[in-house]
Amino acid sequence: MADPSAPRSPFAPWDRRELPGLFTVEESARRVGHYAWIEMRLFEALGGWVATVPELDVKTTLGRHCYHHAWHAELWHKRLPELREMRPERLIKAPNADLEAFVAALTEPEAPELTIEKLVGVFRVLLPRKIAAYTYHLAATSRITDAPTIRSLGFILDDETTDWREGEMVLQALIRTDDEVARAARRQVELEGFMVQAGGIAGPGSLGESPPSESPSTESTVGAAS
């Protein structure tokens, strides 16, 4: 039997979590606010589109996914006060006008013959961007101090990847002609343009690259101090 008085490391040998992470409390909160905003816009759009698509399997898929993204928004809403943001609505906003323009373009199609355009926006542009930003957050933040965010990210990423795969399969089943291939590609190009301008769902720096206006001055300051 092990000696109960023998000292043990507080971390198991296989536990490689380290301090610190890349994000401060404020930076994590800023990103979470943007995540909440885009999840809200997405679940609203999916709900609205249900009535506009004639394909029965797409209707039920949109209805199911609508709730997934609503639940993600709820998780982010609940996280903000835990990150010292007592007025969550202050941070639940688009990172910039370009992402607002992206959402406006994303939600513009209504006609029943535009199912491909609706789904391309969600499953070939927005969901990959969300998965990328969430994965970056998961990799960058401290796995000890920001563990509650990481737990939510795990649930959400599981949903997002499953939903992305399902949506992509629906799209592949819908796209059957050269014209439909061209329509899907055009739509993707159009919306990717907005997204690139926005810098991702959390704005510039969504994937860790520093905003252009900040990175040089930060580096020179550090260099000068040393």
Partner: protein, 258 residues
């Protein structure tokens, strides 16, 4: 995408057939049906029981699609200041539930021997979900129509039990559980959003009465053997209706016969 989406634009594939509510109500054949094909409670030994049950299931199926569409539009149509975030969360949850019900209804329809488009679709259910006031919309849909769904699912559940169809009774029982939840949502939001606005609450309850009356037309719902759909008092109590409210719906149903 528009903020309000009319019933006539609801997107359907080529199998669906649309009928006007007034045409269905005013169809002179309603008075000419032979005794074996008249409405009334649906015992399995009625000569047209299988046909009537299939027709009912098809009606449930299109009703579920419209309920899904209506909940989805409530998520989209209102800005955050018109409908609180928590209300939209409930409606998103309802979208998922109605999507499942649509899937269940398609499979049950196949199980019972009908197919999509065998019967016509009216859009009155969705029309109730077009009210521009979110409180009236929630009251009309979640208390009146989802309340009707409680009655319908319980009736079909009992029909499944009486006819020895465990698949039908199993599925209806699961959907019944969801509908009780949806009615509770409606009652909860009616109370919360009109806490300081009794006039708006009265308008919402009046809208509910109108919808309840329309769906009791010609004795469709009630508590006698003449009514195809039986008022499910026990499940309505679970969903938060008090006995006075249930008595009122019963009275509305009786009035609607005449």
């Amino acid at each position: 995408m528009r903020k309000s989406f009319p019933a006539e634009d609801l997107a359907r594939d080529g199998r669906f057939r649309r009928a006007r509510m007034e045409d269905r109500f005013e169809d002179p054949r309603n008075d000419l049906a032979p005794a074996g094909r008249r409405g009334g409670k649906l015992p399995p030994d009625r000569p047209d029981a299988a046909h009537a049950a299939r027709q009912m299931m098809h009606g449930i199926f299109v009703g579920e699609i419209q309920a899904l569409e209506g909940a989805g539009r409530t998520v989209w149509d209102f800005d955050d200041d018109e409908a609180p975030f928590a209300l939209k969360l409930d409606m998103a949850r309802q979208c998922w539930d109605e999507a499942r019900h649509t899937e269940i209804s398609v499979k049950l329809g196949e199980w019972m021997g009908t197919e999509i488009g065998e019967f016509a679709e009216t859009t009155f259910l969705y029309q109730a979900a077009c009210n521009p006031d979110p409180v009236l919309r929630l009251t009309g849909v979640n208390r009146a129509l989802e309340g009707l769904a409680i009655d319908v699912f319980n009736t079909m559940r009992e029909f499944g039990q009486a006819s020895g169809d465990p698949v039908l009774s199993f599925c209806e029982d699961w959907m019944l559980a969801d509908e009780v939840t949806h009615v509770k949502m409606g009652s909860d939001w009616l109370r919360r959003l009109t806490e300081h606005d009794p006039e708006r609450r009265q308008r919402a309850l009046e809208f509910q009465r109108v919808v309840d009356k329309l769906f009791s037309f010609r004795g469709f719902r009630g508590e006698t053997d003449e009514n195809p759909i039986q008022l499910a008092r026990t499940f309505r109590r679970m969903a938060g209706f008090d006995d006075t409210e249930i008595d009122e719906i019963a009275a509305v149903s009786e009035e609607a016969v005449s």
